[in-house]
């Protein structure tokens, strides 16, 4: 476990930002649930770094797929908190122990969110389609043999199949279906997942992307990518002047770097 290193990497002005994220000592634990680790911290750092944009975004529905301990959804709700009072939070996990743990973590922080035990967003895909304004995902991204994917208990939290892409590739179309026209997706990826290929795939579906946080540990190189609809798609109308995203740079300007990162993955 990587400790509480919230200060690494990202450009967050901590002096002006009181602690608005979940406290580790209040995050509940369970032997079959993934504890917050470097990837969780990187995702929360990315959300913090983008917090002013998120507040301006005024999301009505925020959703986390794969909520684990509840550290991320609790942090998101805390950091938007009273300044974005009209937000509804919903979190899912395939592991019933994780959903129960998330509920306890939320309660320990006196934060309000709905939790559902389901596979990705199964059961929500029909009625929640096009309604999610902010989605956060820390998927099982670790490359493993395919038969380890989706097992019971804690294995489901990290086992990602070939190149760690099996579950990611199932989540992306679900995210596309659930996100509203102004929806944003924040997702954790590993270099081995071939993020440039993920960005290109999302681009075909009309999404721009940007890396919010990039972090290397001894074990892995993580990047948190933000996706947003940037082109007219079958569902959304062209939005003139939609340069309101507060992000600098673009997919293309970052692509060469991504391709460089992805070059060692050996993926197909």
């Amino acid at each position: 476990m990587g400790g509480q290193s919230f200060d690494s990497g990202s450009a967050i002005n901590h002096s002006r930002m009181p602690s608005r994220i979940a406290q580790i000592r209040k995050v509940c634990s369970h032997p079959e649930v993934y504890d917050p680790c470097d990837d969780s911290f990187a995702l929360v750092d990315a959300l913090l770094a983008d917090r002013s944009n998120l507040l301006e975004h005024e999301p009505k529905i925020c959703m986390e797929i794969g909520c684990g301990s509840g550290y991320v959804i609790t942090s998101l709700a805390l950091m938007l908190g009273k300044e974005s009072p009209g937000s509804f939070y919903i979190a899912t996990d395939v592991n019933p122990d994780a959903v129960a743990t998330t509920q306890k973590t939320l309660q320990a922080h006196e934060v309000d969110a709905e939790v559902v035990t389901c596979d990705i967003a199964s059961g929500l895909e029909h009625r929640l389609a096009g309604m999610v304004d902010v989605m956060v995902v820390n998927p099982p991204y670790v490359p493993t043999p395919e038969d380890e994917v989706g097992g019971d208990g804690i294995t489901a939290a990290w086992a990602g199949g070939i190149d760690g892409r099996t579950v990611i590739d199932r989540i992306l179309p679900v995210a596309d279906n659930l996100l509203s026209d102004k929806g944003w997706l924040y997702m954790v990826t590993l270099t081995t997942n071939n993020p440039s290929q993920i960005c290109l795939k999302m681009k075909e579906w009309g999404y721009a992307s940007r890396i919010i946080v990039q972090r290397s540990t001894e074990e892995e190189s993580l990047h948190i990518i933000k996706f947003w609809r940037d082109f007219p798609s079958s569902r959304s109308l062209p939005r003139p002047g939609s340069g309101h995203l507060g992000v600098k740079g673009s997919l293309l300007s970052q692509l060469s770097r991504l391709q460089f990162w992805g070059s060692g993955s050996g993926s197909s």
């Binding site: 009505k60 009209g86 309000d112 709905e114 035990t117 199964s122 059961g123 929500l124 009625r127 929640l128």
Partner: protein, 122 residues
């Protein structure tokens, strides 16, 4: 589980054509007061399936909502109070959600609906 969440859930069993709305079997209902937000209520009103919502509220024992509603009613604070209460303050704590086509029960324990399918239902 709040009724807003119920309104977003459908039965996802393979072969089920119309899995919405799930019928509620209520064993324990609790109330948790939360602050009202008009903008949020107005936004959600447009997205809600009203009939499913009213039926769900009645299955939780709350009978104050009208059979039909239109957006003009959002100007009434009396209506907003009831709408807010049913949408966000009532929780199904223990019970089940029943697939309208197959009768399959999805359990709700400690306020958490479990929508996981068995292998032969996927």
């Amino acid at each position: 589980m709040r009724l807003l969440t119920h309104n977003m859930l459908s039965s996802n069993i393979k072969g089920v054509a119309n899995g919405f709305p799930l019928r509620i079997v209520a064993e324990k209902v609790i109330e948790k007061p939360v602050e009202m937000n008009h903008d949020f209520l107005k936004n959600m009103f447009a997205k809600l399936d009203w009939k499913a919502f009213v039926d769900a509220s009645r299955s939780l024992g709350y009978v104050e909502l009208p059979d039909e509603a239109d957006a003009s009613m959002l100007e009434s604070s009396e209506f907003l109070n009831k709408f807010h209460h049913a949408l966000l303050e009532l929780h199904l704590e223990e019970g089940a959600l029943v697939c309208p086509e197959t009768g399959r029960k999805f359990p709700v324990n400690k306020g958490i609906p479990n929508m996981l399918l068995h292998e032969d239902e996927v």
